[in-house]
């Protein structure tokens, strides 16, 4: 290489170019909808999630939700940061083998008031994915069911109930509550009925589009 006073400066410039470009590329291009400052902070939170082996897609979606709903940067960052913490707590409770979907549902369950011990117990009880049981618990709590009642019912059903039965259980509880039943009593009654009928309607599902 030809020696020159420019060589050192050129090396520095080249290294800066490459390093800067690589660092910038770690931010998901979908986050371009955020303002520059918010995008940078959310990008750093996403990087931290990657380093901690946490799923990043829920964080990105939460930021995009905030951007679409025209939330301020501070609110978006707070929401993403809180979700990242919830995901980490969910991973601690569910174990390192939990899928991204399970961690997302687990984070929502923890936010709804479920205890980490409930998540660990559910993992021990059920061999199938935990997305639906965790979501059912969260939805029941959102419907007014005390978290302990919801957790007790879900753990009792989780070991031998399919996802579709658990969703039907949730609908039954919501229906009874809408008709005036006390949430805890509605949960206990529906759990009993679901436990009795899990094997009855097994062949009649998935024929029509699902509904929320």
């Amino acid at each position: 290489m030809r020696g020159s006073p420019w060589s050192g400066a050129a090396c520095l410039l080249a290294a800066t170019l490459v390093t800067g470009t690589m660092a910038a590329q770690q931010i998901d291009p979908r986050l371009d909808r955020l303002d520059a400052v918010t995008r940078s902070i959310v990008g750093a939170l996403v990087d931290s999630a990657v380093a901690a082996a946490l799923p990043t897609e829920p964080l990105i979606q939460r930021a995009l939700e905030g951007a679409t709903k025209r939330a301020t940067g501070e609110v978006i960052v707070a929401a993403v940061r809180r979700l990242a913490q919830d995901l980490a707590h969910a991973r601690d409770a569910l174990g390192g083998t939990a899928s991204p979907g399970e961690l997302t549902a687990g984070a929502a369950a923890l936010r709804a008031g479920a205890s980490p011990a409930f998540l660990t117990e559910l993992r021990r009880t059920r061999r199938e994915p935990l997305i639906v049981p965790l979501a059912v618990l969260t939805d029941l709590v959102a419907s007014g069911v005390p978290v302990d009642s919801a957790a007790h019912a879900v753990v009792a059903l989780a070991s031998r109930t399919r996802d579709a039965d658990l969703i039907e259980f949730r609908r039954a509880v919501e229906r009874d509550i809408a008709l005036g039943a006390p949430p805890a009593a509605a949960t206990a009654a529906a759990a009993g009925l679901t436990a009795q009928s899990v094997d009855v309607n097994a062949g009649a599902r998935q024929q029509r589009p699902g509904r929320p």
Binding site: M1, R2, S4, W6, A9, A10, C11, L13, A14, A15, L17, V18, T21, M22, Q25, Q26, P29, R30, E57, Q61, L64, E65, G66, A67, T68, K69, A71, V75, A78, A79, R82, L83, G101, T104, A105, A108, R111, E128, P129, I131, V132, A135, V136, T138, D139, V141, A142, S143, R162, D163, A164, L166, I167, R170, E174, Q206, P209, G210, R211, P212
Partner: protein, 182 residues
Amino acid sequence: MFDQPDDAVERMARHLRQPVRIDPALDERVMRAIATLPTPVRSTAGVAWSWLTRPRRLTLTPLGMVAAAAALAAVVLLYRRGPGPPVLPRTDTRPFQFVLVAPRATRVSLVGDFNDWDATRTPMRRVRATSSLWSTLIPLAPGRYRYSFLVDGAHWRADPAAPAARDDEFGTPSSVVTVGGS
């Protein structure tokens, strides 16, 4: 009858020391023979390989280093950017129908975790031309998704038929849909 050994060695050495006489026309004959040999045909790949492997002397200038860095940055940029936002896998998905009653709406969009909260991605259609019922059908993989309806581009509506999202930090209502696998 036999020479002394020293004499024999001496005579052999003298013989070997004599210069070798080569026919002066030998070189010409050899070159003629070579010229008559068929010329080997080189393929394009061979020529290219020869060009690529030919030793060269490179001088790296500051401008060349900047150009190389820019090229490397472009490669990294293209590699990292990828083909675009991830698309939901078509395998292991099932169709989900979303409906909303909105009599006065002129347009309704379904917006959520499944379409990057992009209001242009999933427009809903009236069930009939004069109906107040808006509907759309999308494939969803197992998971839990937050979503909302955007009416006339300005009004956020939760799905009255679905559980509400409790952790709604953005001040507008959202719903959740859970897709099971079993």
